[in-house]
Structure formats: structure tokens, C-alpha cells
């Protein structure tokens, strides 16, 4: 074989690998508006930065005639490159090759790139489009899944792990994403379930479409499994890039501070008009967020799930921050089970990667009700306490209006390690709302007066209670609130606190690990 023949052989092999399951299958993907595994990687990474590894790996299976078809790459594209100039590792399932199903060598490729990512302390992005285990491989594919899950766990909190779901992912293919930090699903063309519609039909006779069972909106709005819904493959990859920009490369680093043309000392008089005078009137907490963050840009996470709690990323003075906020516009901003899960997971995600937390509080309490109590709100609500107390990142709190009862404590209060706790003059920090409190502590006095005078007395007592407790000053006198601020100064005050807390350290007791109430 001449040198030229050898070079030609390499070109031929590369071409063969790049064609995956063949032009026919590639065309069919394109018809569905989807990109191929390689096109996705190209779109995710900076131009020409992607370096592929294990391109010629093939399966070693001799069961059920599998040996007759071998496709180089074996259904997954793996490698590394840069995203916005920062090193990132990637694996991308190729659904044109055996449906993207996982074989032993497929799993080995994914594990190799995961090991490279964690050993070099750079984020990893998984582009998932896999029907699950390759059945011909038998228990080998289960072993491979186990190896991947183990790495997801060992890597958790060391480097950011992002999962993008870009096709039907079933069985083992969904547990790996579930352990990662964030899941982005493409609307209409991606699904996630442990068992698909056919199996459900066969076993329980339930008739359900794939979309309803495990589509993007199901997991974004109902189950809370996913964090983002994207309009297309390209949109999902764009979201991934933006999400990664808020994170450092690993948990030893801090997020990058980017140059910021929005002045840190910008005051906004319109903030005075956001919280309504009437404590019964709701408002949109996102109106406050957008007025105080850099350029009004708020990158919301899980926006369709537990809408009574708003979480997401933004920048303040160029610094990456995570917002956790009660939303008075939905369920009056009450904390329920789903809001607890959403909040505590987000707090943990920020804390692992040194992203400071800004908490905006307007909460009337935990949602009362049998379904909440039976669903375990005690257990789930306590996760918020655990997550906040355990978080060692800078924690800045602004109470905009209500901070009642236990909900006051859990929302990054001073007692739970809030570093700087602000309150607006409209804040009401109290054990409960005036009406409820008067009905309980003044019951005897109310019952002692004739019925026709009772309402007038109640009104007077409520006004007294409001004057005594429904304000920020009692808490400020105790030092539970560091400063009562006029709303227009929210941005400069938060940025000043963030700068002060830049080198914050927390000394903790040695332990194996805490026991978060899961």
C-alpha cells in the first residue's frame, strides 16, 4: 500500500464515520427539523474548535446478527472544544446509528469523555437522542449505563453537567440527565420517560401520547424534571451556551465577571411603584428583577413550573448571580411542595458553583391544605432550610412586602445565614398577617364586647397590630434586617453587598456529609 493509498484510506474511513447511519436517515432527520449529532456539536461549539475522539470505535456484539452491521462511531460523537472561548467536553447521540441505542463501546466512549471532563475540570454537555439500551448487547449495556450514572454522581458539584434532550429518550437514557445540573428539552421533538406509551398501554391499559406522557411541556410545567423548553435544536444549543456563561468551569473557580456598561450605581425611581400600596394586590416580582439586573436581562429557570417561586440567573455589576423569589402573582406567592423543590434545588445548584444568591421575599406563608400536608410539605419545605443554611455563597435578601411566619425564616433570613438582609419600607415581618393574628391573640377581648361593636374593635386591633408589627422596623431594631432601603436603591445596594462579600469564607465542622431531607 502506497502512502497515498494510506492517506486515502483515512479519508474514506473518516467519511464513512461522518455519514453515521447513512444519507437517507440524515435526510429524514432534517425533514423533521432536527440536526444530526455532528451538526449539533458544530452549532454548540465555537467554529472549528471541536476535536473528535473515538471516531472509529465499533461494537463487538455477535448476538442476533449484530456482527453484520458495524458503523464507525457506534452511535455517539464525543470530544472537546470551546464554547465562548472556554474548554467544554461533549457527547452527542447519533440517532441514525442503531437509533442512538447504547452499546458497551458507546458507553465506554461516553465514560472516556466524562473522565476527561472531570479530570481537566471543565463542563460537560450531553446532547441526548437515544432510545435506551441496545437490546442485542444484553446486560453489557446495563453495565454501561451504570458506569455513566456513577460518573454523573461522582462528577456532581465538581464540574457543571448540562443535558440537552433532542429526541425520544427512554429507560436508562433519562436517568443520566436527571442526575446532571440542568435539563433542556426541545419542544415537540423530544421526550423523556422511564417506560414509553406502548409499555404503559400493555401493562396498565392507560392510553397516553408520548407528548403528554413525557414531552417538553410535561416536564417543564408538570413534573419539574426539565428546566428549559427550547423551540428548536438550535434554540436549545443557544440556551446551553447562555446557561454555561453564568457558571465557572468547576467548583474551585468563581464565575467570570464580565465588563458591564450598566452603571452599578443606577437608581430607578419606578421601583417605588412596583409593590402596590394595598397589601391584597398582587404584582409581578419579575418587574423588580428586571429593573435591578444588568441591562434588564433575566435568564429564568423552570419558568413554567411552580410559578409561585421564580428562580433564574442574571448579572449585577457584571457578576453572575442566582435569583430566588416569591411570586405574589401566582398562588399569592405561597410556598408549596413544588415551589420548595424548585427553590432548594436551585439554591444547591448555585452554591456548588459559587454563584451568589439574591432572594426577594414576599411570602404570605406555606400553602395550607390536606393535599400539601399529605404530600409531605413538612419534608419538602425543610429542604429550603437545609439548602439555604448549607449554602456558603454570598446570600443577600430583600424583603419587599410580606415575610410571615416560618416562610420568613426559610427565605434566606438572617438566622439562616443571610449575609446582608435588606427590607423595603413596605415590608411586613411578622409571625402572621394582621387579620389572622388579631383573631387569635385578641379572641377573648373580641368575644367580650357586644356583637354589633365587634367588627369596629376588630378593625381597631388590626390597625394596632399593623402599626406594631406589620413593618420592617421591629426586625431592624433586632438586627434581623441590616438596612431598610428605599426601593430605588435596590441595585446599588445589592451590588455594594456583593462586592463586600467577594472573598466570603465559611468554616464548617468536619462530617462525612449532611443528611438533607430527601
Amino acid at each position: 500500500m502506497s502512502l497515498q493509498d494510506k492517506l486515502d484510506e483515512l479519508i474514506r474511513r473518516n467519511k464513512e464515520a461522518e455519514l453515521g447511519g447513512g444519507q437517507g436517515r440524515i435526510d429524514s432527520l432534517h425533514q423533521k427539523g432536527k440536526l444530526t449529532a455532528r451538526e449539533r456539536v458544530e452549532a454548540l461549539m465555537d467554529k472549528d474548535s471541536f476535536q473528535e475522539i473515538d471516531k472509529f470505535v465499533v461494537h463487538r456484539c455477535y448476538n442476533f446478527g449484530a456482527e453484520k452491521t458495524k458503523i464507525p462511531g457506534d452511535g455517539v460523537v464525543t470530544g472537546y472544544g470551546t464554547i465562548n472561548g472556554r474548554m467544554t467536553f461533549v457527547f452527542s447521540h447519533d440517532s441514525t446509528v442503531f437509533g442512538g441505542s447504547l452499546s458497551g463501546p458507546f458507553g465506554e466512549k461516553v465514560c472516556k469523555v466524562m473522565d476527561l471532563a472531570v479530570n481537566n475540570k471543565c463542563p460537560i454537555v450531553g446532547l441526548n437522542d437515544s432510545g435506551g439500551a441496545r437490546i442485542q448487547e444484553g446486560v453489557i449495556s446495563l453495565g454501561s449505563y451504570g458506569e455513566i450514572f456513577k460518573r454523573n454522581v461522582m462528577t456532581s458539584g465538581v464540574i457543571p453537567q448540562i443535558s440537552v434532550i433532542m429526541g425520544a429518550c427512554a429507560g436508562g437514557a433519562v436517568y443520566s440527565p436527571a442526575i446532571t445540573d440542568f435539563i433542556i428539552m426541545v419542544d415537540k421533538t423530544s421526550h423523556m420517560f422511564i417506560t414509553g406509551p406502548q409499555v404503559i398501554k400493555a401493562v396498565t391499559s392507560e392510553d397516553v401520547s408520548a407528548e403528554k406522557l413525557g414531552g417538553a411541556m410535561t416536564h417543564n410545567a408538570i413534573s419539574g424534571v426539565a428546566h428549559f423548553s427550547a423551540k428548536s435544536d438550535l434554540d436549545a444549543l443557544k440556551l446551553t451556551k447562555e446557561l454555561l456563561a453564568y457558571f465557572p468551569q468547576n467548583s474551585d473557580e468563581k464565575p467570570a465577571v464580565i465588563p458591564c456598561s450598566d452603571p452599578a450605581d443606577r437608581i430607578d425611581m419606578s421601583l417605588r411603584d412596583v409593590v402596590p400600596d394595598n397589601a391584597k394586590k398582587p404584582y409581578n416580582i419579575k418587574d423588580i428583577i428586571r429593573k435591578i439586573v444588568d441591562h434588564g436581562h433575566f435568564f429564568e429557570v423552570q419558568k413554567n413550573y411552580a410559578r409561585n417561586m421564580v428562580v433564574g440567573f442574571a448579572r449585577m455589576g457584571g457578576m453572575s448571580v442566582g435569583f430566588v423569589c416569591n411570586q405574589p402573582n401566582f398562588l399569592a406567592g405561597c410556598i408549596d411542595i413544588n415551589a420548595s423543590l424548585k427553590c432548594s434545588r436551585f439554591v444547591r445548584s448555585c452554591d456548588c458553583f459559587n454563584i451568589p444568591l439574591i432572594t426577594l421575599v414576599d411570602v404570605p406563608g406555606f400553602l395550607p391544605g390536606v393535599s400539601q400536608e399529605h404530600g409531605g410539605i413538612i419534608k419538602h419545605g425543610s429542604k429550603i432550610i437545609y439548602a439555604y443554611v448549607d449554602a456558603s455563597v454570598p446570600k443577600i435578601t430583600v424583603i419587599t412586602r410580606k415575610a410571615y411566619g416560618g416562610a420568613y425564616d426559610v427565605m434566606s433570613s438572617k438566622h439562616h445565614g443571610g449575609d446582608i438582609n435588606y427590607a423595603y419600607p413596605t415590608a411586613e415581618v411578622a409571625v402572621m398577617g394582621p387579620e389572622g393574628a388579631v383573631n387569635i391573640i385578641m379572641r377573648k377581648e373580641l368575644n367580650a364586647v357586644p356583637e354589633e361593636e365587634r367588627e369596629a374593635l376588630r378593625e381597631k386591633l388590626i390597625a394596632d397590630y399593623r402599626a406594631t408589627f406589620a413593618n420592617p422596623y421591629t426586625a431592624a431594631e433586632l438586627g434581623y434586617i441590616d438596612e431598610v432601603i428605599s426601593p430605588e436603591f435596590t441595585r446599588p445596594k445589592i451590588i455594594a453587598a456583593l462586592r463586600m462579600l467577594k472573598n466570603k469564607v465559611v468554616i464548617t465542622h468536619h462530617r462525612k456529609h449532611g443528611n438533607i431531607p430527601l
Partner: protein, 70 residues
């Protein structure tokens, strides 16, 4: 056709529309009070109000169908 459901237990304090009215998606159609807070509920789609199952002052249970928009 879509339903306006009660998000939690509470009391109806205002009805912004009646049967036969046409509404746009996100229009406020009903206001309930719960947890000492007013909660506006929006039309889930463009359409016409087909049914109103509550009146002002009614107590409502979670997931009760308050209104049907067609």
C-alpha cells in the same frame, strides 16, 4: 375549549366577564381571594365565554372549573 380552574381554595370576589362575552388570551376574567390576597385568573385562550359556574362571594375548591372558554 379550555377551562379556567381554581388554583387553590378561596372566594370569588369579582367576575370580569359574563356568558357570551368574547375574550383574548391572558385577559383577566375572574378574581379570587385566598391567603388574604387577590388573585386574578386569566383566560387560557382567545374565545367566547361559554359557561360561568360561580358567582361573586362563592367559596371555591382547588381545581374547580370556574369558567369555560370556547
Amino acid at each position: 375549549m379550555s377551562e379556567v380552574l381554581a388554583p387553590m381554595s378561596g372566594k370569588v370576589i369579582d367576575l370580569k366577564v359574563k356568558v357570551g362575552d368574547s375574550v383574548k388570551e391572558d385577559d383577566e376574567v375572574i378574581i379570587i381571594e385566598a391567603m388574604k390576597m387577590e388573585m386574578p385568573l386569566a383566560a387560557p385562550q382567545d374565545g367566547t365565554v361559554k359557561e360561568v359556574n360561580v358567582k361573586v362571594g362563592d367559596s371555591i375548591d382547588p381545581d374547580a372549573v370556574l369558567m369555560i372558554i370556547e
